[in-house]
Symmetry: C2
Subunit: 306 residues, 2 copies
């Protein structure tokens, strides 16, 4: 996997504002899309961002508050209208079942009766595996059963060290693929092991999405050394009491978490509609953790392979 | 009732396009809002149009295809977040119950657990009565149980005829309100009846919204003499076969309906995403019925009292 993009589809909280739609973000890995939360209007933003619902391979819901899930019925219906046949897997907390089933029941009345299967994998300890990456859930502190997700690209084989290759009297060739796959290979009668000619494995990229949460030690643990931590920051710290009462974190707390975890980049999202101008959130967080961005709708970020 | 506005919140069909959100329109009568269909993103458009969810007194759903109802959960949740206490009545076909209940069940998990009651009035022959107007459903030909709605303002008392008043030796005064209320009154010992001094009653304004439908004789009957007919026109007539197969009308057929019913104004809506430029639909319809508009998102129209 080489291309990895994060696209922010909705960066608001609770209710839409003029600038921010409801929570949803996409991780695009080699053209396939993983969706995290599907607030109302997510499919409109996907259209604006040029992301096709047919390319979504899995959906991850953090928790069952309406602002994070009420875009699901429309997205499923649009997939049906587009003639999707590939199954879709939705991960999330157990209570999601009734709502998704009621939505599918309505869709089944329509001429666009879905031809694709929706598979629900619900629980508190979820894991999605693909050849190139893994997504795992972790518990956060918001409402009962609320989850965050960590996206981990699998480590890549090291680059070929041409000097060492030459010292062994070898030329580059197709056998290098076998070595990159982790297996030894016999070349011109000589047994070559991966570590003989490859540099150290390159660490896969790691993106953490908290969903809604109070400041949480668990987020720190999961995020240690991550490339990107996407942390909710519903309020500034002067409203810390209100934030905590509602199970949310402040910009300051998100920055403290990023600092403690030693991530490369912090992106604040889930911004309350009261902040027309998000610079307060930025200033508060970047004083503590300088590598901070405040997400806006349709913002995207391409992540370089390390 | 004096002020009457129609606001188009979503004018697309089936799936959102870059320009058109999913079906929803508002009739604003003296500041109160009646919503007809609530496609996904309706609340975003309400925000853009400056229409408060707290001012919605009733919702009318035409049929149970997702593009017409999947904005309801988010709208109800936002009403709850805004602290709404006034009950909300939702009218529509019977199958709506499961979906609304599943959405409310999710909302009840949230800190914004609704404090207002949602009353569902479901059936095939629906009627909403207020002091100033009536909304009635009528059957249309689309999917089983599909409805259109007609909004009828109650007739207004005639204007005071000052000449007749003077001939009776009377001066204007508060007693005129009693006459306008339809009751006789004794003034300076003289019995005055409404018809003695008032002109003919002024006909209330009538707006018809078809929802999705094949061309229908029933729409013609209901729309006779209406001020505004809001008719679906999913396709142009060259796609008549596809339109009819899917239970839809063409722009030409909408215009023929308007002509036969003798309405004052035809507005085409529910425009397929294939028409980036709606002028084809306009040209086709206005050749038959000149007083035609093609709706666009956030278009609004103020209706004068006749």
């Amino acid at each position: 996997m080489n291309s990895l993009r994060i696209v922010f589809l909705g960066t608001g909280a609770a209710v839409p504002s003029r600038d921010r739609s409801l929570p949803s973000l996409a991780i695009q890995a080699d053209g396939r899309i993983l969706l995290f939360d599907v607030g109302e209007g997510a499919q409109h933003r996907m259209l604006q961002a040029g992301l096709s619902p047919l390319k979504v391979v899995a959906v991850f819901i953090t928790h069952l508050h309406g602002d994070h899930v009420f875009g699901l019925p429309g997205l499923l219906q649009t997939m049906a209208m587009m003639g999707r046949e590939e199954p879709l897997t939705i991960y999330g907390p157990p209570g999601l079942k009734g709502f998704v089933e009621a939505a599918l029941e309505l869709s089944s009345r329509s001429p666009s009766n879905p031809r694709f299967k929706v598979k629900l994998i619900l629980g508190e300890d979820l894991r999605y595996d693909s050849e190139d990456y893994v997504v795992e859930s972790f518990p956060v502190e918001h409402s009962p059963g609320s989850l965050g997700y960590v996206f981990r690209e699998r480590d890549k084989p090291g680059r070929v060290n041409l000097d060492r290759l030459r010292k062994l009297g070898l030329e580059p060739g197709p056998y290098l693929r076998v070595l990159k796959g982790g297996r030894p290979v016999r070349v011109s009668g000589k047994l070559v092991k991966p570590e003989d000619v490859l540099g150290p494995p390159r660490r896969g990229r790691v993106v953490v999405y908290t969903g809604d949460t109070l400041p949480s030690e668990r987020v720190v643990e999961v995020s240690r050394g991550a490339d990107v931590l996407i942390h909710e920051a519903t309020f500034t710290h002067e409203l810390a009491d209100e934030a905590h009462e509602k199970g949310h974190a402040t910009a300051k707390e998100a920055a403290e978490t990023a600092l403690e975890a030693g991530v490369s980049l912090l992106i604040l999202t889930h911004i309350s509609a009261r902040y027309r101008d998000p610079s307060q959130l930025y200033v508060e967080a970047s004083r503590i953790f300088p590598f901070t961005l405040v997400a806006h709708d349709l913002m995207f970020l391409a992540l370089r392979l390390s």
